[in-house]
Subunit: 318 residues, 2 copies
Amino acid sequence: MKKRLPDPEESATDAAARAAWLYYVGGLTQDQIATELGVSRQRAQRLVSKAMAEGLIHVRLEHRIAGCLALEAELKRRYDLKTVRVAPRLGEGADPTHAIAPVAASVMERFLRQPEPQTIALGTGRALRAMVEELPKINCEQHKLVSLIGNISPDGTASNYDVIMRAADKLNARHYPMPLPVLLDDPEIRRSFYALPQLKIVALLAAEADVTFVGVGQMSESAPLYVDGFISADDLREERALGAVGEIASWCFDSQGRFLESRLSRRVGGLRPGGREGAHTIGIAAGPEKVTPLRAALKGRLLNGLVTSEQTAEALLS
Amino acid sequence: MKKRLPDPEESATDAAARAAWLYYVGGLTQDQIATELGVSRQRAQRLVSKAMAEGLIHVRLEHRIAGCLALEAELKRRYDLKTVRVAPRLGEGADPTHAIAPVAASVMERFLRQPEPQTIALGTGRALRAMVEELPKINCEQHKLVSLIGNISPDGTASNYDVIMRAADKLNARHYPMPLPVLLDDPEIRRSFYALPQLKIVALLAAEADVTFVGVGQMSESAPLYVDGFISADDLREERALGAVGEIASWCFDSQGRFLESRLSRRVGGLRPGGREGAHTIGIAAGPEKVTPLRAALKGRLLNGLVTSEQTAEALLS
DNA sequence: CCAGAGTATGAGCGAATGCTCACTCATGTG
DNA sequence: CACATGAGTGAGCATTCGCTCATACTCTGG
């Protein structure tokens, strides 16, 4: 008595997409959708929210809010940046990462839409992960995605914030992950890893990247590197004693935006953000705890592009 | 006691955009938005719906529904088309133009995203108008928009469905409208119009267009040309007697998709859709009354691309 | 300065929404 | 074969939304 459903998973998403289309584009009420699809109202509601949850629905605001534009202009001038986008505030308690994600995605999309092959380097972190989540599906087989940082957690599993796989999945682009732990304690092993031909390719690509997207981590007690278990409390203390106020792709820098040479920096399994001459290096970060590291990174010209939130932009300028 | 508001118009849209951002991206309730912006709930509601009405919010579905994909593939094969998009059905009573508009816009966007200068020719009609309405703002100064058809109504006003101005406005592209009535009754006047140098430029551009977007009109009693008062009942009868089943940019064709030479065709103030060798000619049309003209146009290879609705696609294939 | 018209604002209310809870049914396990 | 488990389903209900109406306010012309 089976009728259709070659793949129950697929057809569920299909129905969800259909319901969402009727809801958002058609403007039908959920009752009408239920009638249309021949299901109960509750099911229609669930389909719509499923479509939402699966990110099938992308909402875009076609208007640059004046207040944010002013902040962008001022940031651009003050820090001599090439690219700046400021996302409007999303209420007090809201997660700023959530606010900047769609804006960051639209910045990345501009590069992805180029028909000329682009090499796009990616760091990691919550902000980048959220950005990639907001990307639409585009066919980008002409581009290359390259990871700046190892994707192996200390416990041996692939890192949760491994953005490059997700991105490559959505974009159908060639991708070059770093088959490397985030930190390599033994310098000998580190050297031998770096000697791998695959790694050399990745390093070469990253050095010639047209654009690099990175998160920016604070080095306070809430340092993501520490909270996520990549570095120990001792490591953190040591770096802070050396003046570290932030990190980009695990490379710590001080309040002047100078990368630190330290015990930790000699263990990092990854590449410094760089790229070819004139390339874009865009930081994606927002939140009060990011103000100090962002200010340092901008001062040291570690970044020439920025996507942040309205509050963070104000703080950076104050 | 004035505080800000340099331009009340601007700041209203700004507030609307902010409210819409909070609503759609932040997922706040309208009460929360009201608190956030310091206005009443009703005002928040009005801001959100204003943002909607002004088209600040664009919703996109990131999923190609399986059933529609199948229809696209079949249409592509059957009529040997280059581009086909089928929009999912939007309930029985819904306006099919509304359903296809966002899909058509995304097709057009693909061309607009090209950095190489494109020449894009546009017809008129409700479907094209709706498509343009759904376009996002993109800076396309490298492209040229050229109109295939005059924009002057019989009553002397600029036509309501003048899509090219709207499009150019959104895209910041150079545009070449046809400063010409839709129909020119006096052949002498027509000749002298065509001799105008401006018109020659437009004709040249249209003939070299990379892509042409046109609506497809039926020639039944509900013919848009007739309903909108461009042609008389006598004209309509005469064309139908000659076998006309549809029209593209006012050029009538028969059931085999052959353009008719007729009294009417000698009065048309416009250009035939054409374009350079290998160009795209994409028809945007949906609805039961479009099935006959679409089938004819496809048979006669007047189009090599199509954006239509699920129902229309099914009808075309049955 | 006043009068009138058109527009923005806030209250109220019915409809729509989404969340929770109890239930069913299919699947897998002892 | 009985039973546990868990995903999916439908009903009820509190919340939220969007529409209408009465009112206040502003702008313009006399």
